[in-house]
Amino acid sequence: MIDLKIGNLLIYLILFFTTSSNLVFSSTYFDLTLISCLIIYVLKWNEANWFICIILFMLGIYNDILISTPFGYTSSLFLFFYLIDRVGNFFSMPSNTNIKFIIFSLFVLILFSINYFTIYFIYSTSMPFFVNLASYMAVILLYYPLNFIIGSIQNKYVRVK
């Protein structure tokens, strides 16, 4: 069933807005793709709605076209963070923000390592370590504020569960 309630549309619009902002906002320290991943991770999704997966996949492809990253890169990231959120929920951790934060930080740092070593070994070059790490650290630091803001919005307007 395609779930197109106003609340869910608002979520899709936030993600669409964040992804589209790549066009006008570019910063070394704030990676909007990573911030979108964070939003996907902290959102409380309707677990029975398959349409979300398609939306995330399409948004990923849209982001890839916009910033010229290889096809499938952003979709993999979006769906990966959606899946780890689902796995966390399966192990009954949705209410424990601290454990969710630790899991998120861990995966963000793993992602940074994969990116760093892929570029090092495939392109024989290295990214500036601390400059790149800064954008990953920024997204980790944004976890609690964004979790609070999105939590407040969802509790007020969205009844997805």
Binding site: F16, L23, W50, C53, F57, L66, L83
Partner: protein, 280 residues
């Protein structure tokens, strides 16, 4: 026993689990797309080219609030820079006027020498100016989006320059938007000449770091501060366009500081240079 099996089956087949499996399938598909380098196929190139205009139009509307804030901040920064430049201009006015005279006389001399050597058509090309609409230069895959329209007749591999030096080349063109692959892009390769002795090499983009020049036989003769320019080999870029200066040398690794700073530009020049056409 049977009851517990039924319960387990129900748990596997409930809508939530099915969505989870669907998400895993889509994730696997995305990874295959990424690892399989689908973007290198012609279909993907066409798809990207066609969708870029549409996505640009949509994102331009959606990102309008960010655009307003961003342009406001940019205006303040620009204003500050204008004051700074005005101050510098006042200080250097005298020396600049004499340098300008030198450049003009040098250009006239070069024109005379070229005429004597019967050097003509190869380096004659005009240019079109295009506005930058999106800047992804600070990413490892450094690109910019520029405005294009049918009257400008942009084409793939068109060299892109700033006021003083080369920036990159056009990698895809659509009715409204064209994408320029910058020199710092990790996929960028540019044949260059170093110093007045024209030592040949290939400049390779390094993402957020300065590009490096490789395959230089006479790397021991190169010094920090030597001018790096396009060699014209390969036929995509015209020769003698300034790229930058050698900023450091570490063995065979020659690092180049680019002369153009894309973040300071609002418009770029696209050179109507076609090596094969000139030869015809």
């Amino acid at each position: 026993m049977r009851l517990s099996r039924n319960l387990r089956d129900q748990k596997i087949l409930n809508p939530s689990s099915r969505v989870f499996i669907f998400a895993i399938i889509l994730f696997a598909f995305s990874v295959i797309l990424f690892i399989g380098r689908f973007e290198l196929t012609q279909t993907a190139k066409n798809l990207r080219s066609q969708v870029t205009s549409i996505s640009y139009s949509i994102s331009h509307i959606v990102s309008m609030p960010s655009n307003v804030i961003n342009s406001g901040i940019q205006s303040i920064i620009d204003l500050k820079e204008i004051y700074q430049q005005l101050e510098n201009y006042r200080k250097n006015q005298l020396s600049n006027s004499s340098s300008f005279q030198d450049i003009v006389s040098m250009k006239l001399k070069i024109a005379q020498y070229e005429e004597l050597l019967n050097l003509t058509a190869d380096l004659e090309y005009d240019f079109v100016t295009s506005r930058i609409v999106a800047d992804f230069s600070d990413k490892i895959i450094g690109t910019i989006l520029i405005k294009s329209n049918e009257t400008e007749k942009l084409f793939v591999d068109m060299p892109a320059t700033g006021p003083t030096g080369i920036l990159g080349r056009v990698s895809s063109v659509d009715n409204k938007i064209a994408r320029v692959l910058l020199l710092n892009n990790i996929n960028s390769r540019l044949p260059v000449s170093i110093s007045e002795n024209a030592y040949q090499g290939i400049m390779i983009g390094q993402g957020q770091k300065n590009p490096i020049v490789e395959y230089v036989r006479e790397y021991k003769n190169i010094n920090v501060g030597d001018i790096v320019s396009t060699s014209g080999k390969g036929g995509i870029f015209p020769p003698y366009l300034v790229v930058g200066q050698v900023s450091s040398i570490d063995g065979e690794r020659i690092e180049v500081e680019l002369i153009e700073d894309i973040s300071q530009l609002t418009h770029i020049r696209l050179l109507n240079y076609k090596f094969n056409q000139n030869n015809e």
